[in-house]
Symmetry: C2
Subunit: 127 residues, 2 copies
């Protein structure tokens, strides 16, 4: 698949800017809504494409939560996990990690990664 040159566009800049400023993982829809303010008329397809670029550029990573569409966040945040609010449906970062987690695996199992997700109410929704 010949990738060809990549052009600088208003739309891509918008998506990158939003993700750069985001303090929590954003879904495609959230990205679309936020980036639309910087690039009027922005379409979903373009957001998907921009995200795909940033993904294999390695600048962002996908955050997968069961039953939820993927969220995306900058990959320079270091190891951390996520909190999913049951009410507003937003995902949040939570700092830190208990890294003796891998110890839980049965013997002979080779643990490569792990994911921890907390569920409940975020600060705003709990108030």
């Amino acid at each position: 698949m010949p990738t060809g040159p990549t052009r600088k566009t208003k739309q891509r800049d918008a998506v990158r800017a939003v993700l750069g400023a985001a303090e929590r993982p954003l879904s495609i829809d959230e990205l679309l809504k936020a980036a639309s303010r910087r690039a009027d008329g922005l379409g979903v397809a373009t957001v998907y494409r921009a995200v795909a670029l940033l993904l294999d550029e390695g600048w962002i990573e996908a955050v997968e939560i069961p039953g939820e569409p993927a969220r995306y966040e900058r990959s320079d945040k270091g190891h951390h996990h996520h909190f999913q609010c049951e009410k507003c449906d937003r995902a949040f970062d939570i700092a830190g990690c208990l890294d003796n987690l891998r110890k839980l695996a049965p013997p002979k199992f080779r643990v490569k990664e792990h994911s921890v997700t907390l569920y409940g109410l975020c600060a705003a929704c709990a108030a």
Copy 2:
């Protein structure tokens, strides 16, 4: 939704038996394959229906893993988490849990549940 009486059938018994004997969470497909040996000609729709019954009967629970179809396991296993093998795509139970996990949440956040999933190679695939 009038539920009406529930009849005892070979197919439902088969699904229940398989889940009763399972040592790890099973997907619909795995259930179909396994239960088919006890109930010949078993169809997917029937497995879905049997699982739905066992779910609201409370006898089984769903195990959700991002990007994977749901797995089901008996709900009498006590609190535990799961391991997903990247090679054979099977899910396994892992005993125990670090329950200071909820401490990781930011202040003001109300944590109700959590899920931990380890990824890697199961014993069989690591060998």
